[in-house]
Symmetry: C2
Subunit: 490 residues, 2 copies
């Protein structure tokens, strides 16, 4: 069969693009930087949404919906937010079209908005402007709200899922009566993300906080999870911000505390996006295609019949259908690929490309012997399994594949997490065998920026409970008490 | 207790607005015409989404996601679409902000888009431009795709849920190899909507097609469901369009049929929106507040403890908690309102306002007698129920209330569906006791427009299988073979 993907080792970036497109996850649209998420890709995203939504609700959150548009003036209200946040935004200036004399339509110049509207790049401002009316007393707190929404950031260089002008995400926005409670919330949610990454994406992540440089504009602290991709680059997979009273002050959101005194409200915000789709692709896939964790796979099992004529097909189909009933009972998501227009080899390659965790095939010989050929996507191993044992085997594989791809990713990260004690070592690692680098840093913004300028590596995170040790900053030589995690990143 | 709502009989429109706001469903935002859907309202919408999504999937559909923005030129491609579709759209003209010398931020004039982007008012154009690349042969058909999304139509006069600039909806867009198949699809989906309205919203609907005047711009046929609100006005609750080959021709989407000949693809689109929230409110509520059908209520049961001191509260709470366990087992969505800050009377009124189907209260006497006071929201009836019978009673009420509010709405519609044989009768009904009016119509656009001009009533639908009878158009006196349904509408 002709090769569908560029080899990962040859051109990682091209391999990724090929994969996203060929596996029917997403494609570029007619609108610059905006993607179409295709049904197969969207189905994975839906599963992520559903699990995350359940986790948010279990931790006491409810969903709501806020406007797509934000008045321009709102952005200027929180000084750091407007300063730090990228200004590449879609701006709505008019509200009407009209027929053009030249044919077609044109923007009606008489329908100019008094104040321009920004398509939300994130919703802190519009939401805190709303919370102002929701909060009077400590009894109205906490507000634990999440929103599933689309947002737009006018990125110049875009890549499917990883960086697109429009993307889908959830953004939690919570309001609290005390600093402590807000801090607990921000940490709780980064841990929810870490658990989700581990248990569903089968992706190990490091948890920590961002340096001042990399912090969210308007936050006093940004917690993050960082995952390592197969090319040794880090990918920020989720963030949770402790916003202190910054937005409350900007939007004048105060409450009467139990002592009947007025105080500003404390805030957090936290989000993950369709970027997780990119992380999922890059964390596990190989040169044959996607490798999906069973918990998120649209189809966990695909069944391919092998036959030469209608009679064989009809006999085999009958047995497949019996098996489908059993799979259904066990809540296994399966697909019986009974297309007559494609040959088994084509189907095998296609489902491998699409990352289906388990493929089972049945031909005339299997029919006679009452067996099935079972192939697992993660290791590409094949086995002949007796009909009576198949369901149990599949149950086992669902767990085993989920664990195995996690372990493989964990092992990869372990092998690609290095210590560098000098700047030479540091640059050497980045050049020859990149990954996470634990190194001493003097804690200054200047050093961080210099290192970024010279190597493109940034501080991905400051560990939450770092091992304390005396050391010297790899760049400035100044004393440092613990290591931080550097990497090049997406 | 002070009255929270304007009486329905006094000012229906104010009653509706009060209700939506006071019951915490939604509120107006800082952005003109855009609403905030509050957690309680959003929770109902989520339930609608979840049920509808399941129904779409059962009928073979999958979800996908297409861009928020549509290049302006796309709109002109389908002549009727651009002609008929309202041109009140949000237009993105710039992609960057910058710091202003006067302070604050301003639109960067150097970041003007070459071609303006329209925030989607509906997605036929961008989707058919995408399908062009998805369809080569009959084997690629049908495409049965749905999208959950936000859309924007710059309405001048807006009302929460009923008509807002931004709203949430789903839009199905399907592609077929034959006219017959597309017609079957369009009818299938309007029937899905009708089933949903009846079984979940507890709202009877009429099914039919639109007159040419009221048809979707770009459709050859629009199927619709229409419900009658308590003020005798009709509300279009869902539409399903047979788009023929119109969009396929506009975007050049052809396929090779089984005979290896090129043909244009056949299309449908169908949608329901957060407007259903408005329908739900208006179909069942009363002067005390919302009346929610149990299947969509965020809380199906609320439990209010009545006590004078901590000791009583703690004894009662224990019993409530036992009951909560049982409710949980039965998958009843319940809320134990143990707020100490509010008195029972306040809580009763609040949950009545919020439409919780069943309220159960327990005070010291109930505690002694091993009983509960059970109140149903639809009839406001109260009953004392023995502890041992409570779960069964609640199970019964879930079904009975759902049915009862449907029957009530059905009865209301029956009583407000009239026949008019003359224009005088017609106007009389509209003026004195409005509702659906079955009347003869000569089938012309002119007559329809005259009637609309003079009475504000429009043809809501043409029945699918009308009773055939000889008659005369109420307006022109010309012959007519069957009656159509007129009403004033939202």
């Amino acid at each position: 069969m002709a090769k569908v993907l560029t080899d990962r080792e040859e051109n990682y970036s091209q391999w990724y693009n090929d994969l996203v497109i060929k596996a029917d996850l997403a494609e570029n649209s007619a609108v610059r930087g905006c993607m179409v998420i295709k049904p197969y890709g969207y189905s994975i995203w839906e599963k992520m949404q559903s699990v995350l939504d359940g986790m948010f609700k279990e931790t006491g959150h409810v969903n709501a919906y806020f406007p797509l548009f934000i008045p321009k003036s709102f952005f200027s209200k929180e000084a750091n937010h407007v300063e730090g946040f990228a200004k590449e935004c879609a701006v709505v200036t008019h509200y009407r079209l009209r027929n053009s004399e030249k044919g077609g339509i044109e923007v009606d110049p008489n329908a100019k908005l008094e104040e321009e509207l920004i398509v939300r790049p994130t919703s802190e401002t519009i939401i805190w402007n709303t919370y102002k009316n929701w909060v009077k007393s400590y009894r109205d707190l906490p507000i634990l709200v999440n929103q599933w929404a689309n947002v737009v950031r006018w990125e110049m260089r875009t890549r499917l899922f990883l960086r697109t002008a429009e993307f889908l995400w959830q953004e939690g926005h919570t309001a609290h009566a005390s600093k402590e409670e807000a801090l607990i919330e921000a940490e709780k949610m980064i841990n929810v993300y870490a658990t989700f990454a581990k248990e569903y994406l089968a992706m190990p992540v490091m948890i920590g906080t961002k340096s001042e440089n990399e912090r969210f504009a308007g936050a006093d602290e940004t917690y993050c999870i960082e995952a390592l991709m197969q090319d040794g680059k880090a990918l920020q997979a989720g963030t949770s911000h402790f916003l202190a009273q910054n937005f409350a002050k900007a939007f004048d959101v105060k409450f009467l505390n139990k002592e009947n005194k007025e105080e500003y409200v404390w805030a957090t915000s936290w989000g993950v996006s369709t970027r997780l789709m990119g992380a999922l692709v890059m964390a596990h896939s190989d040169n044959n295609g996607l490798v999906l964790p069973p918990k998120l796979a649209p189809f966990q099992v695909v069944i391919v019949p092998i036959y030469k004529n209608d009679e064989e097909f009809s006999k085999i189909s009958e047995r497949v259908k019996l098996m489908c009933e059993k799979l259904k009972e066990k809540n296994i998501r399966y697909k019986f690929d009974d297309r007559d227009s494609q040959r088994p080899g084509f189907k095998f390659a296609e489902w491998e490309l699409k990352g289906v965790p388990v493929r089972i095939a049945i031909g005339p010989k299997d029919y006679e012997n009452n067996t099935w050929e079972v192939a697992r996507r993660d290791t590409l191993e094949k086995e002949i399994i007796a009909d009576a044992d198949l369901i149990e085997k599949i149950g086992f594989l669902m767990t085993d594949i989920q664990e195995n791809i996690y372990n493989k990713a964990f092992q990869f990260r372990k092998e690609h997490t290095f210590k560098a004690d000098t700047y030479e070592e540091f640059k050497n690692i980045l050049e020859n065998n990149p990954g996470f680098i634990e190194a001493h840093w003097d804690g200054t913004r200047e050093t961080e920026e210099k290192i970024k300028e010279e190597t493109k590596a940034t501080i991905r995170l400051i560990p939450q409970n770092p091992v304390m040790e005396e050391g010297k900053c790899i760049y400035s030589g100044k004393p440092s008490k613990f290591r931080v995690i550097f990497a090049k990143s997406y």
